[in-house]
Amino acid sequence: MRLQFVLAEIGSGLRRNLSMVVSVILVTFVSLTFVGAAGMLQLQINQMKGYWYDKVQVAIFLCSDGSTAAGCATGPATPEQQDNLAKLLESPAVAQYVNDFQFESKDDAYKHFKEQFSNSPIVDSVTPDQLPASFRINMKDPEKYQIISETFSSQAGVETVIDQRQLLERLFSVMNAASLVAVSVAGVMIVCAILLIATTIRLSAFSRRRETGIMRLVGASKIVIQLPFILEGVIAAVIGAALASATLWAVAHFFLGGYLSQQYPDTAFISAAQTLILAPALIGLGVLLAGVSSLLTLRRYLRV
């Protein structure tokens, strides 16, 4: 009976306050969408890290004809220098950081270059001689790049040591910045949502002050009096959170999964299913927002 009563109260409260309820839904929807977008960017970053970090390598480029680096004073790298470097890579001090490595000769480099830029006219103007030979090292732990770099930069015949991961880091930092922006927008919107929920509850409490007054007089418990108001806000917020989750799913499904993955087939995008991980978090956040703000409001405007 009491449950049914509370449900009926919620129903009438939602109907009476429809425009306010709709605005609460929309504000929580927008704010939680931004929160979710930030979450999605982080998921995407993790996804790409997992995907690329296995593939990216540290490359030790050897001196070639035109090299000007300090280690290349003696001209192009000689086969002895190349052997020394291979031995150094196999030595225990270095080998513990290395999964495996391979040597990419000038001809190999030229082959890869042609594959990579097959659509570009630049291929025709490049000869194998212009491309440096290199050691491609697959690190056990990509974070240990510094050790390799320090060991090999000063070796004779080495032009430069490049960590391909750094190129990715630049991309990730852009994505991190984007998610930071999303979080800041979300923060402002969440403040809006809290204030709006508080106002809605206040209006609702005011429009039903007759009922609540009588409930107090006949000895209804605090829970029975306040629960309909709290749940009103919570329901609106949950609807907003559900809409936000659906929007994120749609973005992942149609934009990332459809358009972007066609444009960039070799990039690992998060799947639409993965965004659903965010849904419980968004709904939880919505419930928390509504619950806390309505509790605080009721304490002031609904004496029991």
Partner: protein, 268 residues
């Protein structure tokens, strides 16, 4: 049932207290009128019984329990033992008579079958049989007040507080309402009624407690609205209108009575 010990209520430090060292005892099953001009402290008295306000000093006992010691989450339980009726009825305009009365039971979690059984019974007690499905605006003032009374007593409270229940009604209708209150009192409910209506008080011949400026200036059994005996000085020792021996308004004899009873009336 209701006992005030040296109760003072100050709303504003600069003004005089709304109630000033009140000592009063109302027994179980008693019918008492609270009379006095506006601002004499009648409403404050009722609010203190309901724990809507807390006394500035002194102790208010309801059903043997000091209300100051009731924690806020137990206040609803206190209020379930007290029915309240107002001058302005305070019905829910969009609910029928039946729904208005049932509302008081729904919100404290009574089952639907209990409500179906109890509400018609109570409506019969207040004389509203056959009007279950009317809306408040379709009823006369007296009938609306009967609905309010039905709502106040449907949970069988031990105490019924009425704050000028006949204030908006004509004399004939008022007497009808008094008949209902009297019937409820006959069933064992303690009734405390604040009123200005001298005709009613004179007709009923019940206990009268008169307040003036927050002080009890008269407490007579079977009395009239205005005292037959002129008040001399500030003395509160008054003679009963019936001419019996003077009866002190103070409490001492009654106090022991309540304490003895309190043990037996645990829930109320």
């Amino acid at each position: 049932m209701i006992r005030f010990e040296n109760v003072t209520k100050v709303y504003d430090q600069k003004a005089r207290p709304a109630l000033d060292s009140i000592n009063l005892e109302i027994d179980r099953g008693e019918f008492a009128f609270l009379v006095g001009a506006s601002g004499s402290g009648k409403s404050t008295f009722l609010r203190l019984v309901l724990k809507e306000d807390r006394a500035s000093s002194g102790a208010v006992y309801v059903a043997g329990q000091n209300v100051a010691n009731i924690s806020s989450w137990r206040v609803p339980r206190l209020r379930r033992g007290i029915g309240v009726v107002f001058q302005d009825f305070r019905l829910l305009p969009q609910k029928t008579v039946f729904a208005n009365v049932a509302f008081a039971m729904q919100v404290i979690g009574k089952s639907r079958s209990v409500i179906r059984d109890t509400v018609p019974e109570v409506l019969k007690t207040v004389g509203l049989e056959g009007k279950e499905n009317r809306l408040p605006h379709e009823l006369s003032g007296g009938e609306q007040q009967r609905v309010a009374i039905a709502r106040a007593v449907v949970n069988r409270p031990g105490i019924l507080l009425a704050d000028e229940p006949t204030g908006n009604l004509d004399p004939t209708t008022s007497m009808g309402i008094m008949g209902v209150l009297d019937k409820i009192n006959q069933n064992g409910t303690t009734v405390v009624m604040a009123t200005h209506d001298d005709d009613i008080v004179n007709e009923m011949r019940k206990r009268v407690v008169e307040l003036r400026n927050g002080v009890i200036i008269r407490d007579e059994a079977k009395a009239l609205y205005t005292s037959m005996i002129p008040i001399v000085g500030q003395s509160r020792r008054l003679r009963d209108a019936s001419g019996r021996e003077p009866e002190p308004a103070a409490v001492p004899t009654a106090v022991t009575g309540v304490d003895a009873r309190a043990a037996g009336e645990g829930q109320l």
